[in-house]
Amino acid sequence: MASRDRAVPAEIYLNVAVSGILTGLVYGLMALGLSVIFGVVRVVNFAHGELMTIAMYIAVVLFSAFKLDPLIMLVPIAMVLFALGYALQAGVINAFITRPEHTQFLLLIALAIIIVNTLLIIFGPDAHSVQTSYAFDSFQVGKLIIDATKLYAAAAALVAATALFAFFRFTDTGTAIRACADNYAGALTVGLDVNRLYALTFGLGAACVGAAGTVLVLIIDVTPQVGPVYTLLAFVIVITGGLGSMPGSLLGGVLIGVTEAMAGLIFTPSAKSMFAFAILVLVLLFRPQGILGRKIS
Amino acid sequence: MTPLLAVDAVSKRFRGLVAVDRVSFSVPQGVICAVIGPNGAGKTTLFNMIAGEFKPDGGTITFGGERIDGHTPDEVCRRGIGRTFQIVRPFPGLSVEDNVVTGALLRRSEVRAARLHAHDVLHRLDLFDKRTLPASALTLPDRKRLEVARALATDPKLLLLDEVIAGLRPTETDRIVAALRDLNRETGLTILLIEHVMRAVMALAQHIVVLHHGAAIAVGAPEVVVRERAVIDSYLGGEAVA
């Protein structure tokens, strides 16, 4: 807990803030996946954090068994999660698109419960982590001390996010997906294979979260219970940053990352999620479309 | 005598598009009034403002001598205006009877009393035999009548009907026209309806308001209005007045 009897030097705030920004970028990538899924398929992915946990455990296993650095395994693991997401959407979730909202939630909640407990059974409740050779390295820029792992993780997150932006903006498939999101009926009329595009989108969202998880494992320890926490966090970020806005997710992620970090410093670490929730409530009340979001009907 | 409903210079703009442009008309008590005009003329928007779904940007709406513009839809209903929707919205999971009972419960606190009143209304609209069916199992014409029944069960002084005849076959049209005419004659219920089916309009309406591009281009008795040049040019076409 931050001491109250001596002034905390300014550099600490700065370091914590920067640390928060970097972690926040990874959060942002995770939330980006959720935003993409919800924005296009309109399914509320309550199993989002749980999917990320799968990626995290894969990274842990690959590292402990084969000494493969998560940063290198980023793309393969993202691809595995892509396949998983695609299969989930095409095989299970698609039938539920037309069902009542609460039925969709429950489907995904059921999947989340299954994932968490399967992981619990396989890996046990204890924390696992990845300790790379550069785990304790840091860079010094003036008074600023930056964690090497956080920097690399954030950089990877930014690259992944940029790749996704580019995909949606510049490729035909990406444009088709955006068309689906904007106008479902119109997309059908124009002959787009909406089911395939939905599966693709879910796969992409899962890939995002897979990438995020792979680099997140450099920063935090993973337990099966981490899943639900990050599902919730992803929702807070997406709602804060703005549904339907990809930059919004990154912005929201950074905002939450910094808030968490600063709250942990100024108050107590255990209270840091309270601030994320407070922000969520405020956003839901006063600006439900989020910071960068468009007003959705 | 003060009209039951007075719409005074009412306007509505949606992000630059003027949907309703300073429309004024009044509906005396006990009269059946029709609002007609081409698609996009602003008829449903006008209705939605009267029913309280949104606030007019300008002008006032007075009902029974009191301002109602800006009130919530449930407030407006409690004041005595019942409405149906252009795209029917019954309560799908509830039975036909329960749909109407829900309406009847507005002014009755006992379910038993509400159910009795609902039965009366169902009889009047020829739905009594189907009362135990779920609303989702009804055909479109029956669903339209169900909506009218539900609105009627709230004991309105004014009934707003939004294209309740569109899509019905001639026999069904005649049935519902007869039911509405009887209702008006027997109970003095004031009816304001949006309609495209001119046959029904001419059979029912004692008063017509013609909208075009959001503005009222003609208001008056049916025989007079359908002969006005502007109305023929914008909506009816030459043959209609042969």
Binding site: H102, I113, S270, M274 | G93
Partner: protein
């Protein structure tokens, strides 16, 4: 009153109910302690399921944060008992306005600002999480270290202070569940029940039919919250220990919704059936695992997850409607 209660209920259904009630009444005399504990849990979840069902099944508002009300009820009653020696029944009386205010606050925020559907669900999660973290730092009620009720060996059952044998707790929970069942039935068939159903079916049409949807949604939230808080009071005095991390946890909230969903949302028998089914299956699973000598944490939860998945996919309305059709019992019009 009896006539009004049983109006529209088929003979078969009444017979089934009577048999069930009789069986439940004599249960403590015939089953062993372990089974009695299991039955208490069944009733506990059935009770909360009914309370949750008011918000979701009747009024259509999905709450994923009902652990908030259990926790508030528990801590209020426990604090009053430990710090002032006030018994649980009075404690419940105090918990009522506390949880009502909380539910009203949440409802007001949500409904005034148009927070609905998934956003509402997330808001309910956020509130429960807020309480979880907040109570962790609330030293007056023990904080994260826990809050403990003094347990002594009691020679006799003390109903006023809720101290005594499991059988006493069993009958308390049975009475609560039975009363809740009757209350739900009365509510559902009254004016408020019709309005709730209308709101659940189509809120816009409900408004056009003169229903003040804000007010009735508030009623649903408040009634549901207050009812749930009693379960919290029970929890405190039955288990004698409270930890914010456990009682406010989102896993609890999810557990609460399993029974009514599997049983059937919106029906009266649904939550009861769901609770029985889940507990029976869970016990069965435990027996099987014990026989196999397997003890793996997470297996029970995984099993529930699979049950939930199967029900959502195959019997979306829940098991009760399917069972009712098989038994040819028509649940009175709803």
């Amino acid at each position: 009153m009896m006539a009004q209660l049983t109006e529209g209920v088929s003979r078969r259904a009444l017979l089934l109910l009577a048999t069930l009630l009789a069986a439940l009444l004599i249960a403590p005399l015939v089953v062993n302690d372990y089974l009695l504990t299991a039955l208490i849990l069944v009733l506990y979840f059935a009770y909360i399921g009914q309370a949750w069902n008011i918000m979701m099944g009747f009024a259509g508002q999905l709450s994923l944060g009902h652990s908030l009300y259990v926790g508030l009820g528990a801590y209020t009653a426990a604090a009053l008992f430990i710090h002032f020696g006030i018994g649980p029944w009075l404690g419940f009386l105090v918990a009522i306005p506390v949880t009502a205010a909380c539910g009203a606050f949440l409802g007001f925020l949500a409904f005034r600002f148009g927070v609905a559907g998934v956003y509402f669900a997330i808001l309910t999660i956020a509130f429960a999480e807020f309480a979880r973290i907040g109570f962790d730092h609330f030293a007056w009620v023990g904080g994260s270290a826990g809050f403990f009720l003094p347990v002594k060996q009691y020679a006799h059952n003390d109903l006023w202070l809720l101290r005594g044998a499991p059988a006493m707790f069993y009958y308390v929970m049975l009475a609560a569940t039975a009363l809740a069942f009757i209350a739900c039935r009365l509510l559902l068939h009254s004016r408020i029940g019709y309005f709730w159903q209308a709101i659940r079916e189509d809120e816009r049409a409900a408004r056009a039919t003169g229903i003040d949807t804000f007010r009735y949604k508030m009623y649903a939230v408040i009634i549901s919250a207050v009812m749930t808080s009693f379960a919290g009071v029970f929890h405190a005095f039955y288990y004698n220990n409270l930890f914010p991390e456990q009682i406010f946890h989102i896993s609890r909230s999810i557990e609460f919704i399993l029974a009514p969903i599997i049983g059937g949302i919106g029906s009266l028998f649904g939550p009861l059936l769901g609770a029985f089914l889940l507990e029976t299956l869970a016990e069965g699973l435990r027996e099987v695992l014990a026989l196999l000598g397997v003890d793996v944490p997470g297996l029970r939860q995984l099993f529930f997850g699979v049950c939930l998945l199967l029900v959502v996919m195959l019997l979306p309305d829940g098991v009760w409607p399917w069972l009712a059709r098989r038994l040819r019992i028509k649940e009175s019009k709803r």
